[in-house]
Symmetry: D2
Subunit: 151 residues, 4 copies
């Protein structure tokens, strides 16, 4: 496994801490290398969407994927810029397993002057059995920083 | 404005309360009539995505839209069934205004035997100037209830 | 019904004719007013996706919606610019009826400096019973003109 | 490279031929193994979206991806079933190169009782530099066969 660059380390350390919502939910970047971000949310009873099953609320899954994608995009750029999620698609593949933390792996696989493209998955046990899949685009150089991917 | 039916009233009253995450974030259904749901989240400092601007985190916007869509689908059906968000697309149109609560309006405009289709918007001031637009499909009669739209 | 402006009339007349594919498939703009485009494709045996049913191929439905959206965006702008479809989501709601021409209605409901947002439907009989729903974003001021929405 | 199974070979041979639209545009399956389909469309002047650049129309790219996804899903199943595209998202990454045929690679990475999930790309030169990315879901066991993925 490659080590994070100095730039990626700064992003990984500061990204979650600038967003009250990300701090509140316990968002944590595990690794961030060359446009690929691995990040995690803990399992918490307050994230449950259905009290009878203990399954996570879909909004939690989407929040993790959206934020992880923003970090992946920043890592893929040469210098820090303002960015904002432009649009995002989530496919929910199966219910999450109660009690397990949720991990997202998102890569920025293409960037143009103004747009970055990402795709990723969220899983709770094995990467080969994901809970959700995502595709999202992020706008670069936004004048007013927007929240989703701008912690 | 038409009154809610008895079935819609029951959904509106119980929908948010079965989900710990929805209770935690303060989700509230304003009205639910014939497959159209209007719902609200309060503005809270803990929902902020960017501490320098006070703008809401995109995940909060998506969570509201996903849940409002689930309620709209239930209202469009003749009897309660288990349902789960299958996939969802969000377009972020502009940053939210700090301090304003967020309102979503989602309609279920088509249902087949197994799938319900919805579209909606989220806004913080005027419905004509939305913060985000969404399109989502929900799977009906799911065997294991999943979280996003199954409170 | 309002009349088309001179600018809209020019777009409506020239839009389809600059694209060999649109000419080939018989794309025709019915009306184009203030960012809302109504356009049509004829039913042709060569567009059929399933020989046993006569139902149109989904790619034909998407092609009509994508192109109609491009025209709607142009109409919403003050002056002609290069544009390209950035991403597009289609929900297929039901099979089309064999023998019926396909009509799309797409509106550009939001534009920023670089991005235009659209939503629309395609139908073959009544607008209230659509065949497909779409949401798409278009990039404005593209340096190299791309095909989908660049007639 | 593994060989196609007998079931995959039958699909690969018959898939395009049942759809007049796919025959018309020259759709051809290159390989189909275990839920992964590689397919091709030739470059033809009639597919051009912009006469000034020779770039393919976006609808052609989408048509190829949608159909390739349908074949991938069939290959992932144990026995032939009726299927229909439910929804599809395309991200357009760059203009295609005039004169080059278009290749799509789509994998079915998850199937449930009623839904199959796919993702893929289209490219004209190198798989590492795609023209478009897609994510699509297909409905299985549809009662009335629909066109997009029902050859």
């Amino acid at each position: 496994m490659r080590a994070m660059s100095a730039f990626d380390s700064v992003i990984a350390t500061t990204f979650g801490s600038m967003s009250p919502h990300m701090k509140r939910v316990g968002f944590e970047i595990i690794s961030l290398i060359d446009g690929v971000c691995l990040a995690r949310l803990p399992y918490r009873p307050e994230f449950v969407g259905d009290i009878t099953t203990g399954v996570l609320h879909g909004g939690i899954v989407t929040t993790l994927l959206d934020t992880t994608g923003g970090a992946a995009v920043l890592s893929a750029l040469d210098s820090p810029v303002a960015l904002a999620t432009l649009d995002l698609r989530i496919d929910y593949l199966r219910p999450s397993v109660p009690g397990r933390s949720l991990v997202a792996r998102v890569e920025c696989f293409k960037k143009t002057r103004n747009i970055a493209f990402t795709r990723g998955i969220a899983y709770d046990e094995q990467e080969s059995d994901p809970v959700a899949a995502m595709a999202a685009t992020y706008m670069l150089h936004t004048q007013i920083a927007r929240a989703p991917s701008q912690p």
